[in-house]
C-alpha cells in the first residue's frame, strides 16, 4: 500500500492555488519584511523584551512523567520541553484581499507547525500554544507573504473590522487604533500591543502591499476578483462533500464507490 499523499485543496483558480501553496509545508513562505525578536515580543505583549519565559511546570527533563507510548512517539515542542505557559497570537483578516483568511491560516498551521491550537472565527483567528512556540510561528506569519500590514492585523480583543470599509489610507478599521499609517515613511506602525496597551516606541511592520500584489497573493474569492463559482472543480468538490454527508450521515453503507 502506497503512502497517503495529501491533495491539500481542490480548485484551479489563483485563489485555490494560493490556498494549496500556503497549506503545503514543502513550500517556503516568501519573506517580505523583517521584525526584530525584540519588537515581536513587544507587539505580542506577553512579556517584556529580554524577560525570561514564565513557566507553568519544570522542564520535562526534570519531571518524572508516567510511562506513556504517546510520549515516546511525539517529540515535545521547544516550549513544552521548557515548561512555558500557554500564550497566543491572534490575527484579523480584512475581506478586502488580505492574503490569508481564518480557515486557510488554520489549515496551514495544522500542516506546517506542531503544538499549536488554532481557532476559526469570521473576524479573528486565535492561535494558542507554548509561549516560545507562538513567538516563532508569529514571526514567520508576520514577516512573510501571508501578512499585509494594512489588511491583516494583530488583535487580542476588540477585533471587529474585517468586514468594514477601509480608511482613506486603505487600512482596516481597528476600534482601539493599535496601529497607524506613517505617511512620511509609507509604513504601518504599531503604537499599541495586540491587547491595546500603548508601546513605549512604535513597532514598524512594513509597507502595505499594492492592491494588485494583494490580489495575486490572496486566498480570497470575491465577486470583483475571482468568482467562487467560476472555479468549477472547487464548486464540484463542495457539492460532493455535501452530498456524501447528506446520504451517509447515519447510513454510511448506503454510499458506494467513494
Amino acid at each position: 500500500m502506497s503512502a497517503y499523499v495529501s491533495q491539500l485543496y481542490p480548485g484551479t483558480s489563483r485563489s485555490s492555488i494560493n490556498r494549496r501553496k500556503y497549506m503545503d509545508p514543502k513550500t517556503k513562505y516568501e519573506k517580505l519584511r523583517s521584525i526584530s525578536d525584540e519588537d515581536l515580543v513587544r507587539v505580542l505583549g506577553h512579556r517584556k523584551p529580554g524577560e525570561a519565559y514564565k513557566t507553568v511546570h519544570p522542564p520535562l527533563e526534570e519531571m518524572k512523567e508516567p510511562e506513556d507510548p504517546i510520549r515516546r512517539i511525539v517529540e515535545p515542542t521547544s516550549g513544552t520541553k521548557a515548561g512555558d505557559r500557554i500564550r497566543f497570537v491572534q490575527f484579523t483578516d480584512s475581506v478586502y484581499f488580505s492574503p490569508m483568511a481564518p480557515y486557510v491560516r488554520t489549515w496551514a498551521i495544522y500542516r506546517r507547525y506542531r503544538g499549536l491550537d488554532p481557532g476559526v472565527l469570521s473576524g479573528r483567528n486565535p492561535i494558542e500554544g507554548r509561549e516560545r512556540d507562538v513567538e516563532k510561528v508569529a514571526k514567520e506569519l508576520i514577516e512573510t507573504e501571508v501578512f499585509d500590514p494594512a489588511r491583516t492585523a494583530l488583535r487580542g480583543y476588540t477585533v471587529h473590522g474585517h468586514a468594514l470599509r477601509l480608511d482613506e489610507n486603505g487600512m482596516m478599521f481597528d476600534a482601539i487604533r493599535r496601529y497607524k499609517f506613517n505617511k512620511a515613511k509609507g509604513v504601518v506602525e504599531y503604537v499599541k500591543d495586540q491587547l491595546g496597551v500603548p508601546l513605549d516606541k512604535p513597532v514598524e511592520v512594513g509597507k502595505p502591499l499594492p492592491e494588485e500584489e494583494l490580489k495575486k497573493r490572496t486566498v480570497q474569492f470575491r465577486v470583483d476578483h475571482i468568482k467562487f463559482i467560476s472555479d468549477k472543480p472547487l464548486l464540484g468538490w463542495v457539492h460532493r462533500i455535501f452530498e456524501l454527508r447528506s446520504r451517509s450521515g447515519f447510513n454510511p453503507e448506503g454510499v458506494k464507490g467513494i
Partner: protein, 554 residues
C-alpha cells in the same frame, strides 16, 4: 436590473454611496453619535446620583477607548418604514418583543371534550351550547383571578390582568353557531374558505379552549405555571357552572384532563442541563412557532413575507430571548439576531430566490425534491447573497460579522429550497449547502467556524429515527444538535413556514395552534409581527402586564 431592496436603507445608514469601499473613522463623535446612548447616559447619570452607585458609562466601551469609533448606523425594521438604533431592537427595550413572547408563554390549549364527557357519562348531567357558554362566562371571571365557589377569597385587580381570558374553537359548525361570539375563535370568519374547510376537517367535532393567563403572571412566575393556573381555574369553574360537589372524584378528572390528558403546551420541558419548564422558549418547535404566525392566513398569496415574518419572530424568541439571555445571560445577542429582520437585506435575497425559482422551475412547489435541486437553488442564492455583500461594501459593513452573513445567505437559500419544492427538509438541505459554500468562498464562516452546527448538519438532516433526527417542523432548540445554534433557529422557522405556504397549506404542523393564534383578542399582532416591532422601536406599542394601578405614580 431592479435596484436591490436594501439600497434604500444603506443610503440612510451611511453618508457614502453603498458601492463606496472607503470611509473615515475615529472622528465621528464617538458614542454620542447614537441618540439612544445619549439618552441612556443622561438618565443613568441621574440614577447614579440618586442611588450613590455608578451606572451606565459608554466611555468604557472598547477596552478603554470609547464606543463609536466607526459610524453608528440606524436600522430599518424590514418590511416597514421605521428606523431605530440598535438599542431599540434589544428585546428588553422593545415592548412589542415583550408581548411576542408573553403571548406564547401565557397560552395553553385544553380540549373540552374529556371534561364534557365526564359530566355527561359519569355524572349524568346535560352539556349543551348554553351550558358551555355559562361555563365560559364563569371561567372568564375566574381565569384572570376571580374567585368562585368559596367566599372571602383574595382576588386580583382586573386592571393588572386585563389580558387574561378564554375562548374556544371547534370544527363543528353547528356547535360554533350556538356559542356566544364573545367566546368563539371563529374559523369561518378568520380564515379564507379553503383554509377554513381544511382546518375544520382536521379539528373535527372536537372543541378546544385557548386559555390566556395574565402576562404579569408569566413575568412573576414562569411558563410551567400556566397549565397549573389554567387547570385550577377550569376545575373551579366546572364546579360552579355544573353545580358539582367541590372535591368529588370527577373534579380530579377535570384537573387531570387540564394538566395532562387534554393539554397542549406551547413548549415542551427542556432537559436538566437547560433546566426550564414547559412553555419556555427552549421547548418551542419551529413548526409551532411558524403556525402561530398568521400572515399566510390573511395574505396566502405571499409565502415569502410569511416566511420573513415567522423568521423575525424566531430571531427574537430563539436568538434574543433563548440563546441570548436564558442560556448565556448578559445583554443578549441582539446583533446576531436582528440581521434577519432589518434593512430589507434578507427580504431582498428571499424575493430574488423566489424569482429564480419561478423562472427556473415554472412556479413554486412545482418540482419534486432531489439532490440536484438543493445544489442548484442553494448555489444560485448563495452566489447572489454573498456577491451582494461584495458589490456593496455598505452592505458588508451592515452585516459586519460572519455569523450575520452566514445566517442571512443560508436563510435565503433554505427558503428558496422550500419555495421550489414545498418541502422543509429540502429547504434545510439548501441551508446546509449554503453554509459549506460560504465557508469555502470566504475562508471564514460564523462563530468558531460553525463546524459543529453546519459542518455536521447535513449528516442528521434526513434521519427521522429517534435519537438521529426529526422532521424539521418538530425540531426546536431542544433538538440536541441545535442546542448551540445561535443565529440559525430563526431561519429554520422561516424555512418551515415557506415550505408549507408554498404548498398552500393552512398550517405547518398543528392546526390547533394555527387557530388558537388567529384570535384577534391577543395582545400581539400575530399577522404583522415586524410592524409590531417597529411600533416598539418608536415606543408606540402598549403591552400588557401593567403595574401602575398598584404602585405610586411616577
Amino acid at each position: 436590473m431592479a435596484e436591490p431592496r436594501f439600497i434604500k436603507a444603506l443610503r440612510k445608514k451611511f453618508k457614502e454611496s453603498p458601492e463606496e469601499r472607503y470611509t473615515t473613522f475615529y472622528t465621528l463623535g464617538g458614542w454620542a453619535q447614537d441618540p439612544r446612548k445619549r439618552e441612556f447616559k443622561e438618565i443613568s447619570d441621574k440614577i447614579a446620583k440618586q442611588r450613590g452607585i455608578p451606572m451606565y458609562n459608554p466611555t468604557y466601551g472598547c477596552s478603554g477607548v470609547g464606543l463609536g469609533q466607526r459610524t453608528y448606523m440606524p436600522y430599518l425594521i424590514s418590511g416597514t418604514e421605521t428606523y431605530g438604533m440598535p438599542e431599540d431592537v434589544h428585546f428588553v427595550n422593545n415592548a412589542a418583543m415583550h408581548q411576542l413572547w408573553d403571548d406564547i408563554r401565557r397560552t395553553v390549549i385544553v380540549g373540552l371534550d374529556a371534561a364534557n364527557t365526564i359530566i355527561t357519562k359519569r355524572l349524568g348531567k346535560e352539556v349543551t351550547p348554553e351550558t358551555i357558554n355559562h361555563y365560559l362566562e364563569i371561567l372568564n371571571h375566574a381565569l384572570p383571578g376571580g374567585a368562585v365557589v368559596q367566599e372571602h377569597m383574595a382576588e386580583i385587580h382586573p386592571a393588572l390582568v386585563e389580558d387574561s381570558y378564554v375562548k374556544i374553537f371547534t370544527g363543528d359548525d353547528e356547535l360554533a353557531d350556538r356559542i356566544d361570539k364573545r367566546f368563539l375563535i371563529d374559523i369561518n370568519k378568520l380564515f379564507p374558505k379553503d383554509q377554513a374547510e381544511k382546518l375544520k376537517k382536521a379539528i373535527g367535532k372536537r372543541t378546544y379552549q385557548a386559555l390566556r393567563m395574565p402576562t404579569i403572571v408569566g413575568h412573576l412566575c414562569d411558563g410551567g405555571t400556566m397549565a397549573r393556573w389554567a387547570a385550577m381555574q377550569i376545575s373551579m369553574s366546572m364546579i360552579s357552572a355544573y353545580k358539582l360537589m367541590a372535591g368529588e372524584a370527577a373534579v380530579g378528572e377535570f384537573a387531570f384532563a387540564a394538566k395532562h390528558a387534554e393539554l397542549i403546551e406551547m413548549g415542551t420541558l427542556t432537559p436538566w442541563r437547560r433546566a426550564r419548564g414547559p412553555n419556555e422558549p427552549g421547548g418551542l418547535s419551529f413548526g409551532y412557532l411558524a403556525d402561530m404566525i398568521q400572515y399566510n392566513r390573511v395574505h396566502p398569496e405571499d409565502p415569502c413575507k410569511y416566511a420573513l415574518e415567522a423568521l423575525a419572530c424566531g430571531a427574537v424568541i430563539y436568538d434574543q430571548y433563548w440563546f441570548g439571555s436564558y442560556m448565556s445571560g448578559g445583554v443578549g445577542f441582539t446583533q446576531y439576531a436582528t440581521c434577519v429582520y432589518t434593512d430589507d437585506i434578507l427580504d431582498d435575497y428571499v424575493y430574488w430566490g423566489l424569482d429564480y425559482v419561478k423562472k427556473k422551475y415554472g412556479g413554486i412547489a412545482k418540482i419534486k425534491p432531489s439532490m440536484d435541486i438543493i445544489k442548484d437553488v442553494a448555489t444560485a442564492i448563495t452566489d447572489y447573497s454573498l456577491s451582494s455583500y461584495e458589490q456593496y461594501p455598505a452592505n458588508m459593513e451592515t452585516h459586519f460579522g460572519g455569523s450575520q452573513r452566514a445566517a442571512v445567505a443560508a436563510a435565503a437559500s433554505g427558503i428558496g429550497g422550500s419555495l421550489a419544492t414545498g418541502n422543509a427538509q429540502l429547504g434545510m438541505g439548501c441551508w446546509y449547502l449554503s453554509q459549506l459554500l460560504h465557508k469555502e468562498w470566504m475562508g471564514r464562516l460564523g462563530f468558531y467556524g460553525y463546524d459543529a452546527q453546519d459542518g455536521a448538519g447535513p449528516c442528521n438532516l434526513w434521519s427521522y429515527r429517534s435519537d438521529e433526527g426529526l422532521p424539521i417542523e418538530l425540531r426546536g432548540p431542544n433538538y440536541p444538535n441545535y442546542a448551540m445554534n445561535v443565529g440559525h433557529l430563526s431561519a429554520y422557522t422561516g424555512i418551515v413556514a415557506a415550505a408549507h405556504a408554498a404548498r398552500g397549506d393552512p398550517w405547518c404542523v398543528n392546526p390547533i395552534i394555527k387557530v388558537a393564534f388567529a384570535d384577534p383578542s391577543l395582545k400581539f399582532d400575530w399577522t404583522y409581527p415586524r410592524e409590531c416591532f417597529a411600533k416598539g422601536v418608536l415606543r408606540e406599542y402598549m403591552p400588557a402586564g401593567r403595574r401602575d394601578v398598584v404602585v405610586p405614580p411616577r
